[in-house]
Every structure is written in C-alpha cells, then in structure tokens.
C-alpha cells in the first residue's frame, strides 16, 4: 500500500497521507476513551457505561450532576487548552525553526500571567473581593498574551527582518522582567490575591464552568480553521528565509500572521487554564515522530496529543493526592522537563 492516496472532489484534489490518517483516527479514539475514563474517576466513581448514560442525562441524579456539571467542563477545557498550546507550539517551532521553542519559552505565558495578576490586583477592593466579574479575567490574560507577542516580535525586528533566534532570546529576557513585576504585584496585594494568582500561574483547570467553555471552544476552533488555511505557508517557513523567499513566499509577512495565530491560541489556552507549561514544547515533537513534519498532518496530531497530555495530567493532578488538588501545570512540568532533556540529548549524533 502506498503511503499517499489522492482524493478528488470536483476540480480540487488532495493527497491523503494514509498513515497519518490512521494515526489521527487512533488518537481521536484514544482521547475519547480517556475522556470517558476521566469523567468517571474521582470521589464518586462512575463506570464507563454509566458515564456515557450520564452524559446524555440518563444516569442517576448524582451521576448526572457530577459528570455534567463538575467533571465535563474541566475535561473539555483540558482538551481544548492542551490542543491550543500544542498547535501554538507547532507553529512557533515551524517559524523559529528551533525545536526547543514553545509559547512558554518565548514569554507569551508570562505576558498573560502579568495581565492576570494585574487584573486581580487592580480590581480587588480592601475586603479582597473583586469589584468586577471574574469573567473578565480571561480577557485580561488574552490581551496580556497578545501584547507580549507583539512586543517580542517588534523588538526582534532588525534590518534583516525578524531573526527567529532573536525572537526566542528577547522572549526569555522580557519574560524574566515580567515575572519580576508579577511577583511584585502579588507581594503588594493581599495574600488572598497572591494565593489565587499562584494557582493560575501554575496552571489549573479546577472549577471550570460551562460558560467558560462557551468562550474558549469557538476561539480555539476559529483559530484552528485559520491555521489550516495557513498550513502551506507554514510549510514554506520551515525551508529557511533564503529558500522560502526564492519559493516566492512573503516570509516576513507570513511570519507575522502565523505568530499572531500562535499567540492567540496560546493566549486563549492560558486565559482559561493558566500557565500550563511544556505542553507546547512536547506535543509537536511527539507528533513529528509519529507523522513526520508536514504541517497538514502534524497540526491535528499535535493538537490531539496536547489534549491527551493535559487530560492525563489533570487526571493525575486531581486523584494522586486526593482530596488535595495539585495544579495541572505541575504535572505537565514534571513530564515536560525530562522530555526537554531527552530532546537535547537526542540532538547528539
């Protein structure tokens, strides 16, 4: 069986990568099964069959409530946040052409963190109560992420356009500065704010509700659609500036658009789930090993893997030390750092 098959619809034809299609299908099934298992595990154990029933409202009242209201939102958020971070990382690794780039490394997460902590500080009154609705917080985080993305990008511009490596270095430097300011805000504010900010900073999907899901899902889906339209340009970016220019691409302009999509994806994820680290780094790598580096198959694969990583991390985070809830970001960092070490070792030939 050849690796590719062509699919013709009217005048347009697509080359379908059969191996990648099989892998993507497999990952999708795996993710759904994992979601069912995760929906069932917790203080109230629900068998997988009963989980499916409860999802459709056919379980007992307590099962329906637990599955639909308490567990389903955080599980959906895990999947979407993980997928968004993974796609964001895949784009960044493509345009920066450095396998170690990720939204948290170039400082997008730190921008969101500062905006979030700033929001909590500015809008808290003396009694530690928020003066505006907490629902505005994700907007603040998103703005922080995008402003940071723009800032890093514009500071990285030199005479020769944007050099990918400078983008990373400037991201690291700015992130260090923003983290200092974030700590100061936490310090000056009441301890209550600090504790709340700290949970966000580490990354947590605890306490998600359906109204948050209604915001993040369209955001991620919309950006995913745009990303698919941009896939050919992303493939060209990986050739390097000279080759890409010779291939007729507007390298700098495409880079700016792609960077914006990447930032918006990561920003959306951290706005709702906080600073979950290393997912944007790990997922694209694992995907590349499975389906190769053409972005058409890489992006969906990475997205699924990202979702699965956060799902597993959340499952462990809420069950391992029950009744204590460890923020999910601690576990992604615990898997992510050794993976990073492995990646550095792997480059040894």
């Amino acid at each position: 069986m050849s690796r590719h098959r062509s699919l013709r619809i009217g005048k347009s034809s697509f080359l379908i990568d059969t191996k990648a299609t099989a892998i993507i299908t497999g990952l999708t099934i795996g993710m759904v099964l994992l979601m069912i298992i995760s929906l069932g595990i917790g203080q109230l154990q629900v068998w997988p069959i009963d989980v499916v029933k409860a999802v459709f409202g056919a379980g007992t009242d307590i099962q329906n409530l637990t599955v639909q209201q308490f567990r389903a939102p955080r599980i959906v958020l895990s999947v979407f946040a993980g997928a968004a971070l993974a796609m964001s990382g895949a784009i960044l690794q493509g345009i920066i052409r450095n396998p170690l780039a990720s939204p948290d490394i170039i400082g997008i997460t730190s921008g969101a963190a500062l905006a979030t902590v700033g929001f909590l500080t500015v809008f808290s009154d003396r009694g530690n109560a928020l003066t505006v609705s907490i629902h505005w917080m994700p907007l603040a985080s998103l703005i922080g992420a995008i402003v940071m993305g723009i800032l890093v990008y514009s500071l990285a511009i030199t005479r020769n356009g944007v050099q990918p490596l400078k983008l990373v270095l400037i991201g690291i430097g700015l992130a260090a500065a923003l983290e200092a300011i974030t700590t100061m805000l936490m310090l000056l504010g009441p301890i209550f704010t600090a504790a709340r900010a700290n949970i966000w900073l580490t990354g947590s999907v605890n306490g998600t509700n359906w109204s948050e899901i209604q915001t993040i899902v369209p955001w991620v889906l919309g950006l995913t659609l745009i990303l698919f339209l941009l896939t050919p340009r992303l493939n060209i970016q990986e050739l390097g500036d000279e080759l890409a220019k010779n291939a007729g691409a507007f390298v700098q302009r495409d880079r700016l658009i792609l960077l914006f999509v990447s930032t918006a994806l990561a920003g959306g994820a951290v706005a709702f789930a906080g600073g979950i680290s290393f997912v944007g780094l790990m997922a694209p790598h694992m995907a590349r090993r499975l389906v190769g580096s053409a972005f058409g198959s890489l992006i969906p694969t990475a997205a699924l893997i990202g979702g699965i990583i956060v799902l597993i991390a959340d499952l462990v985070a809420r069950t391992a030390f029950a009744p204590l809830e460890v923020p999910v970001g601690v576990f992604t960092a615990l898997i992510g750092a050794p993976y990073f070490i492995y990646l550095l070792f792997k480059s040894k030939k």
Binding site: L155, M184, V330
Partner: protein, 332 residues
Amino acid sequence: MLSKPFSKIIGIVFGLLSVMVLLWASVIYGLTYITTSDVIDSFVRFDESNQHYIIQDTRIPRALIAAAVGSSLAIAGAIMQGLTKNPLASPSIFGINAGASFFVVIGVTFFGITSITGFTWLAFLGAALAAVVVYSLGSVGSEGLTPVKLTLAGAAIAALFSSLTQGMLTLNERSLDQVLFWLAGAVQGRDLDLLVSVLPYLIVGWVASLFMGKKMNVLMMGEDVAAGLGQNTILVKLSGAVIIVLLAGGAVAIAGPIGFIGIIIPHIARWLVGYDYRWVIPYSAVLGAMLLLMADIGARYLIMPQEVPIGVMTAFIGAPFFIYIARRGINE
C-alpha cells in the same frame, strides 16, 4: 575606554569611593530622614530612639547586604559569560535563582525550615544543582556547548523549577506568606546575621575570583589554544563553577533571586576596560555593588511609603539592556 593600567587603577579607586558614597547615601536616605550626625550618634551614644534603631537594625544591614550581593552576582555573571562565551549568561537566566528558590520552598513546605542558616544551605544546594544541570544540558548534543543551547536549557530548567515552586505554594498558603517576600528578591528587612553567616563563602568566592582573571584570558583564546599552552582547562572551568555557585548561591541565600545584575555589569565592565579578565572581574565587583545600592535607594522612593522589591528594580533596568544585547546578536 580605560586602556592604560594607570587609568584602570584610577578607575577602580574612583569606583570604590563611589561605593562608599552610595553606602552612606543608602543609610541616610529613605522614609525616615536621617543625618550623618545621627548615624555617628547611634554608635557613640545610642539612646534607644526610633531613629537609632532604624540606623542600626535596618539601614546599615541593608546597605552592606546590597553591596555584597551586588558585587557577588556581578562577579558570578562575569565568570559565567567568560566561561560559556555567552553574553547573556547570568545566574537568573541560567535558572540558578529558580533552583535556589525551589529548594528554599521545599524546605519551608515539607520540613518546616524557617531558620536563616536553613535557608542559606538550601539556597546553596539549589543553586549548585541548577548550575550543574543547566551546564551539562547545555553541553550535550552534537555541537557541544553553544551559547544558545545553554540559554534555552537555562530557560527550561528555570521554568521547571518555578512551576514546581508555585505548585508547592498553592498547596500551602502559609508557606506562600513566608516565602513570597523572599521570592521577590529584597535587601531590606534582612538581618545582618544573615550576611555574617554567608560572608565566609562570599569572601572565598571574591578572593578566588581575583585569581581567575589570568586563566580566563587564556581560556578565552579557545580551548585548544589554552590546552596547547599547558592549561588544565577542566580545572579552570571547575574552579569557575565553584566560584559561581559560592557567589550566586550566597547572594540568593541572603537576598532572594535578584535578576539582571549578572548580565548587565560584566558588559559595562568590558566596555570600560576591554576583555582582560584580570580587570573585568574587579570592575564587575565594584560596579555590581554600585548598581545594587542605587537600585535599592531608588526602590524606596518609587511608590513611597511602600517599597518596590529590589528584584523588580533591577528587572526594570536590566530588561532593556538584555534586549539590546539580544538584538545585537548573541554570537558577536
């Protein structure tokens, strides 16, 4: 800038005088106004007034700590930049601060350690561990130790340590309260005892660093050349690493993670005296003390009557500088 040995000596004398002036200014200026005669009085005839207490317990310790921490971080940065040939190398970028913070928070959370000596040893341990991990991570791979890999490894390890630190803090709010202030990096409210307990390590680091200059000059010509000239390059790097851990670890133990000093100062020192590390290291020491003293004085006035943590002040000064260096290119 300063090319002749004579002008370099003049420069360092002038720098030392500036440190003296800044130490004096650090004691004098602040929310409570104090005059020089008050300072003298507080030693000659201590009258248990508020002013005298502030001088003895707050202002003087903080001035001395700022000077010691500033010069230690700057020397550590200079040696790191030399040994790794990375102009962005510094304790904070390489995750040494994050490693130290991580260990301190482990100590507070799991072992209930609250003593100064406990903090100090934990910070040392964490700094050393992070330095070893980042350095070895930066060295693996086909092309060996490259500046960029080292920076990336540092950023990743820092990210790991800080997420674990934050994770522990979310589980235990009481330790958050105790540690948050330390985590921001500060020289105020630190006891003189703290400095005294760490001082022996710092002094060993300072003195040893002065002997590193010549060896680093040789190493800067390239490892092959250095080995050809009969230098034991491994030993030089190892002693450099020990000095970095002593100085960066000691500084973090006293004042918490203060960033950017280690990056900025060596650049200014090299701009002043060129690439001769026999001069770069002492100049870094003097300039580091000056910068941190100035930052600390500034930190008192920015949002009076509250104070900006000094780590934030140095970040304000340091980030633009860092970006300037990154824009200019890491390999030049």
